[in-house]
Amino acid sequence: MTVAVARPQIEAGTVVTIARKELRDSVRNKWFWLYAIAFAGLAGVLTTLALPSARVAGYGAFGRSASSLVALVQLIVPLMGLTLGAQALAGQQERGTIRFLMSHPISRSEAFIGMYLGLAAALSAAIAAGFGSAGVITVMRGGAADAGSFARIAILSWILAAAMLGVGMLVSAFTSRSGVASGSALFVWLGLVFLGDLGVMGTALATDLPVGALFFSAVANPVEAFRLATLTSFEGSLDVLGPAGTYAVDSFGSALDALLISVLILWVIVPVTIAWYRFTRGKDL
């Protein structure tokens, strides 16, 4: 039997095998557990703290816990996705795992897709555990929330994680040392979570930025797109966000949701595609 290493060919079986290997490696990774437990724990604590006073005539029953949860997701999920992704290619390259992997009849595309899917599965487990425990605690403490919006926030968090994982792998594909990759990923995290917003805020304050420009420069950031998409689900509208929110509602109306989710999906597709291109066209391993 000839083992033709047909490069562009992608076999589902191989991809799944690599994905499962990557998932197993992640689950054995202490960092993954640290993140998962921190996320689930914080989600539980936040929900608990937000609940006690939170019921007057059906108002505000979940809003506060939800906005705490969303802020937590904004902080932790990008950190998880970016660092796991950054470690993926550079770290394995440094340890020689990829060279070992490529000695098997596996195409680089298969390896890349497998790794991405495996890591995404690991992240999904962490997020599902976090939201699951937050939800159970809410119910146990006599709270209630609309199951639909709760599920929606969980799904949006998952999409955000998939996007951040891709960005992490993009960082990884352009560096060969895992230390550099991790450092760069942290910097990207800082940029997306803090510096991006602070920059738009500062620009708006200094230059009287029109609300439309403010809206678009904020929404280009996947972390912001995620936040706004969750707000539309549990606040019902972006009116609460002042003039820029009103602008968004007036300009896009019911298409707003689609716009925000498209931004998130673009952030899933584009970085991963560039990372894949770079990795498969790479020279040495």
Binding site: T17, R20, L23, R24, S26, V27, S53, A54, V56, A57, G58, Y59, G60, F62, G63, R64, A71, Q74, L75, A121, A122, S124, A125, A128, A129, F131, G132, S133, A134, G135, V136, T138, V139, G143, A144, A145, D146, A147, F150, A151, A154, V193, F194, G196, D197, L198, M201, A204, L205, L214, F215, A218, E224, D239, V240, L241, G242, P243, A244, G245
Partner: protein
């Protein structure tokens, strides 16, 4: 005399019904009214009667809950031009839609002591309109509205120069405002004003008591303007979140006592527009719950002489805002050593007397930024906005002057009795299901990673 009138009315009705039945024409109620002696009671048998009825003498019309008065899409249901007229137990429907002519279900003009009670209004422009009709009683009616653009709708209840009116136990849904003009000593108790523009609107109407009402889902819950000595007690004001979205707005209102109300889930809980206006007047806010609003209390700059004691401020996105961030001093946040409960109070109560040992200060930099630059509200609650607040606390030079200083904050939440409201409670079973499914998914993924992998181990 009175009994004959009743019988007479019923006979008229029956004969009209008999003749009308074949042609399915509405019964001529005007003829019945014209034939009835002054001061009599006309009891209507069930059926559909023609509207645009003019009543120009003291009279009681009792529909027993089954008589329908249909204006046929034109004019008023009833026009009352005499004192001592009572309408009871009628369904009044399909008035005209002319705002110029103020088409109303019941239009009273110089109708002192008119009584409208236990009536249902359907597809009416205005519901009950009382002009110069002192001591009118509008009680236990259910008033709907026409399905028009908000600007083309009429008012559920409009009272004009009608002092001493009692508006009690009505349900008004979907109209424009329920508005009181130039009418003193009103009693507004136990009504529900929902899904309108201004649930309740006071203009130049002094000395009213407004108690136990529900103002919910309106663009503005209640707006009190240019009125003196209003008592506003025990009301539930929730989910008023239109473009202005005030739970209660107060414009140039002197001598208001706002006590024991619940302002919940509005865009702005209470909005202060130059209230009080007189220099020797203080408005009092006591034991209210202000919770889950975007902004709990919003003041125009330079508003002063409002005194707050025993109120609870819970989980408002911004507890107190100052519009455009101008000068803001001169309000009183504790009275006789009793302040308010603030859920973001970070102090302590070592001596256990229920009063915080350090003052409550509202000095978040980011909320000041929002006051001066409303577009900054876009980033409220983001990690970046929290970082700005944290920076202000780390570097006191960045810290703004506090908007509120409560010298005697209450450590414990005051007792709040629940109020009726139309908000739906959410079942928790769905949430539990979703949560358990998520936990199961997490467990399945981890289990998957532990099973053998073909080829690779």
């Amino acid at each position: 005399m009175r009994r004959t009138a009743v019988v007479l009315g019923a006979v008229f009705a029956l004969t009209s019904l008999a003749t009308a039945g074949a042609q399915s024409q509405p019964i001529d109620l005007q003829a019945l009214v014209d034939a009835a002696p002054s001061g009599s009671v006309v009891t209507l048998v069930p059926g559909v009667y023609a509207g645009n009825v003019v009543i120009d003498k003291p009279l009681t019309i009792d529909g027993g809950g089954l008589a329908v008065v249909d204006a046929g899409g034109d004019g008023n249901g009833f026009e009352i031009t005499a004192a001592d007229v009572t309408l009871r137990g009628l369904t009044i429907r399909d008035t005209g839609d002319s705002l110029d002519r103020e088409n109303a279900g019941v239009s009273g003009r110089s109708a002192s002591r008119m009584v409208v009670e236990d009536c249902v209004f359907q597809n009416v422009l205005f519901g009950v309109f009382a002009r110069q009709s002192p001591d009118a009683v509008i009680r236990n009616n259910v008033i709907g509205a026409k399905d028009l653009d908000l600007g083309r709708r009429g008012d559920g209840i409009r009272v004009w120069e009608t002092s001493g009116a009692q508006i009690i136990g009505n349900t008004v849904d979907g109209g424009r405002d329920s508005v009181m003009w130039y009418s003193d000593n009103l009693i507004v108790d136990g009504n529900k004003f929902t899904n309108g523009r201004y649930g309740l609107h006071f203009m130049y109407s002094h000395d009213a008591t407004i108690t136990n009402n529900v103002l919910e889902g309106n663009s503005v819950g209640g707006f009190l303007m240019y009125s003196k000595n209003l008592t506003f007690t025990g009301n539930f004001i929730g989910g008023n979140s239109g473009p202005s979205g005030y739970g209660l707005g107060m414009k140039e209102v002197d001598g208001a006592s706002v006590r024991d109300n619940q302002f919940v889930g509005n865009r702005i809980g209470v909005y202060f527009d130059y209230s009080p206006i007189s220099y020797d007047v203080t408005n009092h806010f006591v034991a209210n719950l202000v919770a889950y609003n975007e902004v709990g209390l919003m003041f125009l700059p330079n508003v002063e002489r409002n005194a707050f004691t025993g109120n609870a401020f819970i989980e408002n996105r911004e507890q107190v805002g100052v519009s455009s961030g101008g000068e803001f001093t001169g309000n009183i946040w504790s009275v006789d050593g009793v302040g308010n409960h603030w859920d973001d109070f970070g102090g302590y109560d070592a001596d256990g007397d229920g009063i915080g040992d350090i003052p409550y200060k509202l000095d978040d930099l980011y909320s000041v930024l929002i006051d001066t630059h409303p577009e900054m509200a876009f980033f409220a609650d983001t990690p970046a906005a929290r970082a700005v607040d944290m920076a202000a606390h780390l570097f006191p030079t960045l810290r703004p002057r506090p908007k509120v200083v409560d010298e005697a904050p209450l450590v414990d939440m005051p007792q709040i009795s629940p109020r009726p409201s139309g908000a739906t409670t959410i079942e928790s079973t769905g949430l539990l299901g979703v949560s358990l499914a998520l936990l199961a998914a997490a467990a399945a993924i981890v289990a998957l990673s532990r099973s053998r992998i073909g080829g690779l181990r």
